[in-house]
């Protein structure tokens, strides 16, 4: 079901009561297409405080193996909260070229 396009779903495909059984299946939707600006990180300034991870409404800034953080541009809507709240000015919002 997660892989199917909504226009391909027939009435027989639906579960009882139209219950959706795959948790988080909406994660296949690329909200990254919404943004007009994207965050760019300069990790040389970063102290790994993790506040960007906390404050992202999408939950798309993820901790990396090395302890730094990286935004997942598949989801990032470009709100700019991370850049605004970062105490070390690690993040700059850059206009998306069309």
């Amino acid at each position: 079901m997660a892989a199917k396009k909504e226009t391909d779903v027939t009435w027989k495909d639906l579960e009882i009561g139209s219950i959706v059984v795959e948790p988080g299946s909406a994660e296949q939707y690329a909200t990254g297409g919404w943004r007009s600006q994207r965050p760019v990180y300069d990790n040389s300034k970063c102290n790994k405080c993790g506040l960007c991870f906390i404050y992202c409404p999408e939950g798309c800034i993820r901790p990396q193996e090395d302890g730094y953080y990286k935004p997942d541009l598949f989801y990032c809507k470009g709100c700019g909260i991370c850049a605004e709240e970062c105490p070390k000015d690690v993040i700059t919002m850059v206009e998306e070229e069309e």
Binding site: E6, W11, E15, I16, G17, S18, I19, V20
Partner: protein
């Protein structure tokens, strides 16, 4: 050991719910259903019924709480009447379209205004399209039996739908009748435990009640309609099993002395028993007349009705509710619609009565048959007649 008890029908409902080992009761009191919910509360308070009794603050919350309970797999029961059924109206649609099995007895009551606590079918007729399975009963034993059947039908994995069991307010709910309370062992054999396939459970997270944009809403509705229509077979199968086990038979459409009847009277609910007495008297007087009773109201028993009225010339549909501004009472409209495409169809006339608890006697039904026959023969300047109104 099954025991025959003289018991108020409302209380017998509590006994049935106890035998069914109901888990959750969420109900709000309203005349004439109050004895049902009071007795249930008593059964819980005394430990006769091991259930969570939620004294909700309105009928809207009663049905909503029932949805929640059903969603986690609890066997759920409630009861209401009249205005209460209307207050929970929007939630009724949700219960059926989300396929959450709840059993509800409705002590059918007239709708305001003017305020009436007495019985008629206006409350249930306003709930026709809510997607519930709906069963009508004629006496106390039928109520008791069908509450048990309702759990089995609604929770069946091929169905998973909420079920209403209708009983006439006061005329049934408050009558003391001899009722055979079946024994627990037999009921346990007849009624399997509730095993809802996709309950809300952290071990297997599902999302219930997602919203549907235009691109997918129609698919959801078709799935719902197909399921409700198919549930009729499960209802019939359940009644067959009930008959095998307990010896009492229920059918979607029941006929009384219709074999060679040219004229058929049609009723639903407790008035059917009065009507049967009238049919006997008319038959004794030589009239070729019979009685057809609709027991299964939803899903509508189209095939069974067509078969039951096949050889009649006239059907007199007695409605216990108006469809204000419409062309006939609700049952009559549906009967006409069912028969419209038939090559051979009887004349269908409509008499509406018994509103707001007004009695119809045996003599009254005899008169209704006379009136109906006259309407069929001579026509009427009205689409339908209201019986017994003081002009």
């Amino acid at each position: 050991m099954a025991k025959r008890v003289g018991m108020e029908v409302s209380l017998a409902i509590g006994e049935a719910a106890t035998l069914a080992d109901v888990d959750v009761v969420a109900a709000y009191p309203i005349t004439p259903q109050t004895h049902i919910v009071e007795h249930l509360a008593e059964l819980v308070a005394n430990g006769d019924l091991d259930a969570s009794y939620i004294p909700v603050e309105s009928e809207h919350s009663a049905m909503s709480a029932c949805l929640g309970a059903a969603a986690v797999g609890a066997r759920t029961f409630t009861a209401t009447a009249g205005q209460g059924l209307e207050l929970m109206h929007e939630v009724l649609f949700v219960a059926s379209s989300m396929q959450l099995p709840v059993v509800m007895t409705v002590a059918n009551r007239a709708l305001s205004a003017p305020l009436s606590v007495w019985g008629d079918h206006s409350d249930v007729m306003a709930a026709r399209d809510t997607g519930w399975i709906q069963i009508f009963t004629e006496n106390g034993q039928e109520v008791f039996d069908n509450v048990l059947c309702a759990f089995r039908i609604g929770e069946d994995r091929r169905v998973l739908l909420p079920v209403m069991v209708h009983l006439d307010g006061f005329h049934l709910s408050h009558m003391i009748e001899p009722i055979l309370i079946e024994e627990k062992e037999k009921v346990d054999k007849f009624l399997p435990k509730n095993d809802y396939p996709l309950p809300l459970d952290p071990d297997k997270p599902v999302s219930m009640g997602t919203f549907a944009p235009p691109v997918i809403y129609s698919e959801a509705k078709k799935a719902q309609e197909v399921n409700l229509a198919a549930s009729k077979d499960v209802v019939v199968e359940c009644w067959e099993e009930f008959y095998k086990m307990f010896g009492r038979r229920y059918q979607p459409v029941e006929s009384y002395r219709t074999e060679d009847a040219g004229v058929l009277l049609m009723t639903m609910g407790s008035y059917s028993e009065t009507a049967m007495a009238a049919i006997d008297k008319l038959r004794d007087a030589g009239q070729s007349v019979g009685l057809v009773r609709l027991r299964l109201w939803r899903p509508f028993p189209t095939k069974e009705l067509r078969r039951a009225v096949k050889n009649a010339e006239t059907i007199i549909v007695f409605d216990r509710a108006l469809s204000l501004g419409g062309q006939a009472g609700p049952v009559c409209s549906e009967v006409r619609s069912t028969l419209y495409g038939e090559a051979q169809k009887p004349k269908v006339v409509n008499i509406i009565g018994g509103l707001g608890g007004r009695d119809v006697t045996v003599a009254g039904f005899e008169e209704i048959v006379r009136k109906g026959v006259a309407m069929a023969e001579k026509g009427s300047d009205q689409e339908f007649e209201i019986y017994g109104v003081r002009e």
